[in-house]
């Protein structure tokens, strides 16, 4: 068995406005190629957990292992590098750079990584956009497209660096059922054929049921 992501006794506290333990002793594992959904009531700590797993939030107790390597205690710069190489993140609210074109938004993480040439990156970005049915929006500025289109753009961006894990905070929340199905199918194919691991927060039971496994959170604890 090939574990890509593992946590040991993760606790997370918010000190403001009053002390609140948002995550309680989280122990979980994610296998290579596994497609897991995280469910739970609003405020149960799903987003908080995802930020920690994505290495963006470093302010927690416990240990996080990514691809066999311990992430806790790495510097911010090292984490930034690992994040761009290994993790694709789709936010709960579509976060795009509004003044940049859709295509540029998708390309930026790969340009930053700087491994491939501009033209290769551009080609793959266009293919990914095409796969998500928004190739026709590629040259529009990101603030000029619809919510669903923004969400698909941020999925394309998460995919651009061929990450090992994709994390999504309700990535299909803004999509109609046809597009949500399409995104689900893409995720499914990526996990089955490319061995990509997926960790997706969702409120959609039908969506969750079709994934390999469901992790259920309640009051910051896995049940």
């Amino acid at each position: 068995m090939d574990i890509i992501l593992k946590t040991e006794h993760i606790n997370k506290y918010f000190l403001e406005p009053t002390k609140l333990q948002a995550l309680k002793d989280i122990n979980m594992e994610l296998e290579r190629g596994e497609f897991v959904s995280i469910m739970g009531k609003s405020g149960s700590g799903k987003s908080t957990l995802l930020y920690i797993l994505s290495t963006m939030d470093t302010n927690y107790e416990g240990d996080l292992y990514l691809d066999g390597k311990k992430m806790s205690h790495l510097s911010k710069n090292e984490l930034a590098r690992i994040r761009s190489e290994k993790i694709g993140f789709v936010f709960q609210f579509h976060y795009l750079l509004p003044e940049f074109s859709v295509l540029k938004n998708v390309m930026l993480p790969a340009l930053k990584l700087g491994i491939e040439s501009d033209s290769v990156i551009k080609k793959r970005a266009m293919e990914t956009l095409d796969m998500l049915d928004i190739a026709d929006q590629a040259h529009k500025k990101a603030y000029r497209i619809s919510g669903g289109q923004k969400q698909r753009t941020s999925i394309a961006r998460a995919l651009i660096n061929k990450p090992k894990i994709i994390m999504g905070d309700e990535p299909t929340g803004n999509l109609d059922s046809k597009n949500a199905d399409k995104v689900f199918d893409i995720f499914k194919t990526l996990s089955k054929e490319k061995g990509l691991s997926l960790l997706v927060v969702t409120h959609d039971h039908d969506f969750a049921k079709r994934t390999d496994r469901i992790i259920e959170l309640e009051d910051g604890r896995i049940i």
Binding site: M56, N77, A80, R81, R83, Y95, E99, L108
Partner: protein
Amino acid sequence: MNSFRLILDISKTHLLSKIKQTVVAALGVTFGISTFIILMSFMTGLNDLLDGLVLNRTPHIQLYNKIEPSEIQPIDSDEEYADELTFIHSVKPKIKLERIHNALPLLSELRKNKKVLGATPQTTVKVFYLAGSNKLNGVLNGIELQEEIRLFNFKDYIVKGDANSLLKRKNSILLGSGIADKLSLDIGDKIQVMSTNGSFHDLVIGGIYQSGLAEVDDVQSFVSISMAQKIMGVGNNYISRIHVKLNDIEDAVPMAKTIESLYDVSALDIKQANAQFDTGSDIRNLISYAVSITLLIVSGFGIYNILNMFIYEKMNDIAILKATGFTGKDVMFIFISQALIIGFFGGLLGIGIGYAVSAFIDTIPFVTEALPTIKTYPINYNINFYISGVVFALVSTFLAGFLPAKKAQHIDPVEIIRGQ
């Protein structure tokens, strides 16, 4: 795409998307830099002009025979009183001629000296100017015209007529403008002068001399040196002053000392003669620098404000960039490069406008009695002002951008993303 170009590309997109703020910030720099350039060009232009006036006009060393009491009084040489303390009241100078002793050999010695650019003799005669029933007292300066022109730009002060008339006619006079006004005389008119020994001489006005100093122009006129000697009734070895111009003004002080020790003559160097002048230009320079630097600091604060605002508006962008693999340093460079781009273009426009306005000021007529050689406002087109303008612009925008950029570097993306 390398990281540097990527960062520039992102900055460019940010700046273009906020074109109004960008332009306002850049214009702040432009204003600061152009004012700096205009102020410095004008102020130093003025300084150079005034310095030039003094330097052109004033001999580096003036030699004359000072009338002062002897250091050694007869009683000092009497051995009987050698050990006594003696007091003498009301010591008066001995009668001495107002002429330099052995002037001609001294003059030719000076002219041979390698450090000397030139030396001109002058003979000064006290006279009365007579025209009709009017009688004014004044001074006639006998000069060697060609040397005066070569060494002291004498021609610049002849505001009317022709300086060369002194060469063409022996009895030609270049009349002080104040005298010409008082006696209502003009070029071509005759004027009679009476010397202190009572002889009368008829002179023809060949030109009007104006130095700009009323007390000079009201009394002083110029004739050829031989004419002055003739009016005085003395030989051609009667020379009352020698004006020396050196190749290097720095030699003036030691040279004056040497001459005094070697010859029986008093030597006044230009440093002594114009001691107060240097402080004047220093203070003017100090003021222009202080004002310019204040302006640049003010425009620096403008940029600081605008960049701070930029960063608040771009919080989301910063969080996204960081979440997708950009480091804090990358983000910092994005904002610093924005500041520098604003500084660079603002500064460039600033030196353009600074140059244009300076060039315009240069054409504005500026006519004053005091400065007969000046026709327009003086401007100093020193390339250093333009270089330091651009350097100032870059440094001040860098400093102004640094703190906001540092702040952006440390923004925690999770906080921003969660805050939504």
